[in-house]
């Protein structure tokens, strides 16, 4: 290829860069090879100008068309191949968030026995959903239950085991009256929780990728990383249990928070594209945490925490409790978006698709068919 040809080659590299990234990944190298081959042939036949004018003339419409296909959902942003979710699936998917309301409110509505019954119902629901979910290949409605389990495991199995060490560090780092350190510690701890939940979910995904029998799950996650976000959304519930612990008069706010989470989950389950799915999760989590923040600001002065109020005034404490919910919201949103890094992982090879016998024969014996004449 001469200097003029090289110039056109690199010009086409530039033109290709304006196609959607997924389209480029799928066809970019092929298109470049076809362009180069056609360019060489055009040079031989002495009609480079005509060839290049045609390429440039069709390029804007072709790029626009590729972007429209991306938006319309004929690409990987859609849930292609996924069955529409049934109303039972939606009920199960949001059921965990609704049941959590009853458990969290049961202490003010019924006796201790009632609290235990509500907790047992919640746990049985979670375990049943997980078991059926595993049996059915992890449908979307089962994912929040796994997230809640991950959250519990990190809180009690991970951070719980580190409690003696963390307690010592906290007493040295956070002294009474030093509010900046107190905020910093809180920010770090909620960040560590979400980081560990995310890392643990990544470990599971790597296991899915490595084990051939579980690779279809990896393929699904790789196609739609918001599945991981939805699982992490379940871990938001565990954060709620911890956050509302020790509060009184919190019923209305707890109900509102969990309802927002349930609405976010329902919106996720009904959405078709990754963008809208993520938007529902972020919206649900944000509304829930903002409600919590407002609720804590209102409720802290009403709390009976005599020991605590010896160290911090109610005015300082209500701001701290309120703002730490927003700090946690920041980590939560990051954690829900973080699975997008899964796009960097390699795609698993798709299983073979049924090809007509005539085509199989032609592929095995490509004489006179595949070579450019």
């Amino acid at each position: 290829m001469n200097r003029y040809g090289l110039f056109l080659h690199y010009l086409y590299v530039g033109l290709l860069s304006l196609y959607p990234s997924r389209f480029r990944t799928e066809f970019g190298s092929e298109m470049q090879a076809v362009f180069d081959q056609a360019l060489v042939d055009a040079a031989v036949s002495g009609c480079i100008a005509g060839f290049f004018v045609r390429e440039v003339r069709d390029w804007p419409l072709s790029v626009l068309h590729a972007h429209l296909l991306e938006r319309k959902g004929l690409n990987m942003n859609t849930t292609s191949g996924e069955k529409p979710i049934s109303w039972q699936g939606i009920l199960v998917g949001i059921g965990l968030f609704l049941l959590a309301i009853f458990w969290q409110l049961s202490d003010s509505l019924v006796s201790n026995l009632g609290v235990n019954i509500a907790l047992i119902v919640l746990l049985i629901f979670m375990v049943l959903v997980m078991l059926i979910g595993i049996f059915k290949g992890l449908p979307r409605w089962s994912l929040p239950s796994f997230g809640l389990l991950l959250g519990g495991f990190i809180m009690y199995g991970g951070l719980g085991l580190l409690d003696p060490i963390l307690g010592g560090m906290m007493s040295r780092f956070v002294q009474i009256g030093n509010e900046i350190n107190r905020y910093a510690w809180q920010a770090m701890m909620s960040g560590v929780y979400w980081l560990l939940v995310f890392l643990l979910s990544l470990i599971f995904i790597l296991i899915f990728a490595l084990l051939p029998s579980l690779r279809p799950l990896y393929r699904r996650i790789r196609k739609d990383w918001t599945l991981v976000s939805f699982m992490l959304y379940g871990a938001v519930l565990f954060s709620f249990f911890i956050n509302w612990d020790e509060y009184t008069h919190e019923q209305a706010f707890v109900a509102a928070c969990n309802l927002f989470l349930a609405i976010g989950a329902g919106g996720y389950l009904l959405s078709k594209t990754k963008t809208s799915r993520l938007a529902w999760l972020l919206g649900g989590a944000a509304l829930a945490m903002i409600t919590m923040s407002v609720g804590k600001f209102i409720l802290v002065p009403l709390q009976d925490w005599p020991m605590w109020f010896q160290w911090h005034s109610k005015g300082v404490e209500r701001w701290f409790e309120s703002l730490r919910s927003l700090i946690e919201l920041g980590w939560m949103l990051l954690a829900l978006i973080a699975p997008s890094v899964l796009n960097l992982l390699p795609l698993a090879k798709e299983p073979a698709v049924e090809i007509p016998d005539s085509t199989k024969r032609a592929v095995e014996n490509p004489v006179g068919s595949a070579s450019p004449s």
């Binding site: 086409y12 076809v34 081959q37 698709v353 090809i355 032609a362 592929v363 068919s369 450019p372």
Partner: protein, 113 residues
Amino acid sequence: MDVQENLPLTESTFYILLSLAPGPKHGYAIMKDVKTLSESRVVLSTGTLYGAIKRLLDQGWILRVDEPSENRNTRERKAYVLTQRGRRILEAETVRLGKLYQAAQLRVIGEEV
């Protein structure tokens, strides 16, 4: 879905499917074949060709396969093949065009002859 719902095909789509009817072809071979089949009336640019290929893949009318390389040292190229559905649609369009031609032949050419 009824095959008839997808008809009529655009000229480019028809020629691309027709080009793949004998067997698998890679992108450049399709491009050249379409030009030959249409007697240079339809000359696809690279962008138009791959836009159509993407759509046909999404619709499940064609498949992407590795084209066996005669030279072991060279990289396998991607080729495209008709699926059963793609072949059915091509056949249905061919029948439709045949009927159009017959009708035209009866009224126009037939009268002249």
